[in-house]
Symmetry: C2
Subunit: 279 residues, 2 copies
């Protein structure tokens, strides 16, 4: 999916919400546990209940990999079930030497047919480039992550460059990719950084984790992070999919997603994105 | 497996070789392709042919993940087949926010029972710590990797710290882990750095990729990188497992491994490690 299609989906759904399918086996409601593939059954119901409210789904691969081959099978079935119009993100944070990154790209872009994959930048250009070579696919590169450990290395000022590591990552990567095949992860837990980040990368989409359970604030992220193509995909995982615990978990998930979608619609209107493009 | 046991294995086998099971499906000899699980059958024959010459096996997970659930099943069977006395390394380069890293740790340490996993440091302390909490398991943290892209960020001098990023990673990580649960990846393609690296981390084991296909030099690595517990696990993947292409591929692999093991035995003798500890 390219940037323009994603933007049109955001406008028509009045939403830039990504639902994180971080399906922790231990939190699946008990009435699903007797079924053949509880993880897939859970995801299926979450997708049914939320797909008109979001533009993207993002399974974090760790939650599937923890169950080995069975988990990969649940992931494959989930991905097949997600409607075509959704932007699908493998939150995998992969990255390896060139010939190996190529195989990770194959795993997520061909074997599983995701639209995008998150990639870690530590190993530099040849660990990222193989992902960028796939047509109509997107790399979402870690820049400034939402967790406490983002302070350890990402914010460290570089001597000659005189700016933090995450900025160096964002500037270099823009030489490797383009607006259609490169996005960045920027955590909602650093809302004060979004103004700066929009100077570094004015046009790229940003995938923003960290609202909800991690405490980030949607209004502030939107205020400083939005651009003329919206430019934001804001993720919520636990806050939506585990909003309820009982047999009505899917309705509870829908209610949680709806509440965020309404806030997003308001933001899109007040930023004139919906009006401007719908005339 | 702890550091002392690994060292004893190195002494008794006169080898610090790790065989990289980067089993590229497209390079498996044709006579195995009719079998039920060609990847596992290939690995089984490689393990049979090399296990007395090496102390560790390191499947790179990308090569398995590229085949989805089937690949994970081949990986599981491979791991079960590797003799107990071998140090098993999941070359996965994972790392995510705390609750997610915990699941990756579960995938590799519990679901698959690896001894060690490679971890990427970009996301900082809470992305690494969950792996360190597993008893008798080891994190091998990326420090200075063997690829061209290691020049992009890892060698960048930090302003206040006045040293490159990889050194910061190594110094910080030593506050998180200990000699038994923390090793570092340092590529053989940077032989001139090993003296420096031994000042930063004198005692930790280093996992050294990059000899063979990537062009690193074993003698120089050993000269500057060895410590009183050997302190090195040197990996070769393609150079061993794809040494031959025909029905005799396993014998060719054994010959390639033997040639490295002999060089290693010589190095261990000339550095007095074998004599000192065998008396």
């Amino acid at each position: 999916m390219n940037r323009e299609t994603l933007f049109q989906n955001i406008l028509s759904k009045q939403s830039f919400l990504c639902v994180g399918l971080d399906t922790d086996f231990n939190r699946i409601p008990t009435h699903l546990l007797d079924m053949d593939d509880p993880v897939f059954e859970f995801n299926k119901r979450i997708i049914d209940a939320t797909h008109d409210l979001c533009v993207a789904y993002k399974p974090n691969i760790a939650f599937y990999e923890a169950s080995g081959a069975k988990g990969w099978e649940s992931l494959r079935k989930t991905l097949e079930y997600i409607p075509e119009s959704q932007f699908t993100i493998a939150d995998a944070k992969r990255g390896d030497i060139g010939n190996t990154s190529r195989l990770y790209a194959k795993a997520f872009f061909e074997t599983l047919n995701f639209d995008a994959v998150t990639v870690a930048p530590y190993m530099g250009v040849d660990s990222v480039a193989p992902f960028l070579e796939f047509e109509n696919k997107t790399v979402i590169l870690l820049a400034l992550t939402s967790n406490k450990g983002s302070n350890d290395f990402q914010l460290e000022i570089q001597k000659e460059f005189e700016k933090p590591l995450y900025e160096k990552v964002m500037r270099k990567a823009q030489q490797w990719g383009n607006l259609d095949n490169l996005m960045f992860v920027v955590g909602a837990t650093h809302p004060e950084k979004f103004e700066e980040i929009r100077q570094i990368a004015p046009y790229n989409f940003l995938l923003v984790p960290g609202i909800g359970a991690q405490g980030g604030d949607l209004e502030r992220v939107a205020k400083y992070g939005m651009n003329d193509h919206c430019g934001l995909i804001v993720n919520s995982s636990r806050g939506i999919i585990f909003a309820g615990e009982g047999e009505d978990f899917a309705e509870k998930a829908r209610a949680a997603a709806l509440s965020i979608q309404r806030q997003m619609a308001q933001i899109l209107v007040s930023s004139n994105l919906i009006k401007v493009h719908q005339v």
